[in-house]
Symmetry: C2
Subunit: 223 residues, 2 copies
């Protein structure tokens, strides 16, 4: 049996960090769990969770191991505790201020989507290089010119950035955001960004995704 150092918080430096893949699944568990808790279900099994997102129960348990020891053999996991533990590990047990650059259709879609705020991500600043958009109010936020980036990001304490600009300007805008103090960003433009090592990057590249899909489709046996 594993020596359990603490009841509440492992905070074990020796304990390995969840892998990238595990982090992704923890997000998915969290969403399922919120639904499950909303239905008043207080206990949940790894099998339940696994079936909900289409993976095995063993995988679920392995992932949950990173959260500490909160399973009850023969019973399952307390829904509420699981949620809290996942939020803590994912670092979304607090609010993240987010800057959004490029106020086009994609940005409007992102602004409308209420799921972000619900999960701790608040869009606090908008930027666009187009003078005709500057000053406009979108979803209650004023659009600022790029020149004010440093100032506004400092004032709003934005730590993350969403890049919804055309490919040509993506690298320059990314540089500005990093310069203004942003620590991580999501790039929607289909270009590879070069960033300093201390800035995290997630690329959402729809071209790549569509090509993945085409490949998959072509290689799935037609029943």
């Amino acid at each position: 049996m594993n020596r359990d150092t603490a009841s509440a918080r492992p905070a074990d430096p020796a304990e390995s960090r969840p892998s990238r893949a595990t982090v992704g699944r923890l997000s998915l568990y969290l969403r399922q769990l919120e639904g499950i808790l909303g239905q008043g279900t207080l206990k949940v099994s790894s099998r339940q969770l696994g079936q909900a997102i289409g993976i095995t129960d063993v995988q679920v348990r392995k992932d949950i191991t990173y959260l500490g020891n909160l399973g009850q053999p023969g019973i399952g996991y307390p829904t509420r505790d699981l949620i809290a533990a996942i939020r803590r590990v994912l670092c979304i047990d607090r609010e993240w201020a987010v800057a959004l650059v490029g106020v086009g259709n994609l940005a409007r879609a992102l602004l409308r989507y209420k799921g972000f705020l619900q999960r701790g991500f608040r869009i606090v600043a908008l930027f666009d290089a187009d003078p005709s958009k500057v000053g406009e109010r979108v979803e209650g936020l004023e659009v600022h010119p790029p020149e004010k980036m440093r100032e506004v990001i400092a004032a709003t304490k934005a730590e993350l950035g969403l890049l919804a600009v055309p490919s040509d300007s993506a690298q320059a805008v990314a540089d500005s955001l990093v310069n203004a103090g942003v620590r991580g960003l999501v790039n929607f433009a289909p270009v590879v960004l070069r960033l300093p090592a201390h800035v995290s990057l997630v690329a959402v590249d729809l071209t790549v995704q569509l090509e993945q899909l085409a490949f998959q489709v072509q290689h799935t046996d037609v029943d």
Copy 2:
């Protein structure tokens, strides 16, 4: 429909399929290569390609292995041939007809993006359940009601689907698309879809991505 252009390649039975990860990188190579060829550069080395997208030259060569033997020691790869080979392996050496469901801001962003067509993906049909949108023309395409899905998808020969609808309706719309004969789809809604095995799925889940980013940011050492 599926014809093996076997001019250059000896049918290699032992040759394994490129992994998911490799397929993703091939997309990235392709984009770089198109730029490189546009500059008139006819030969490219694995080191060049690797630096362009931030990975090692060995990784690039390993990936390119799946395309067959087209490197020239001491020289590099012929840009044009590499492009052709990647397009063939990714199955984008032809045009894919794509249906788009849910004509909101995200859909408009997708429609405006010209990169898809350039890479062989043509959006040929729009659907929306909102009667006020049905009949409207967006980027030259008429918005159809869901009832006409089967008919329109058959007529347009759409094989792929983009789901840009709210979470509540995502599963139902996915079922309809599958029923109408679509063979793969990209889901932008933050829900896990259940699909028959013969239908491919790519999930673009922004909530998960943002949570990944938050986690990364929190775990990168501040210089």
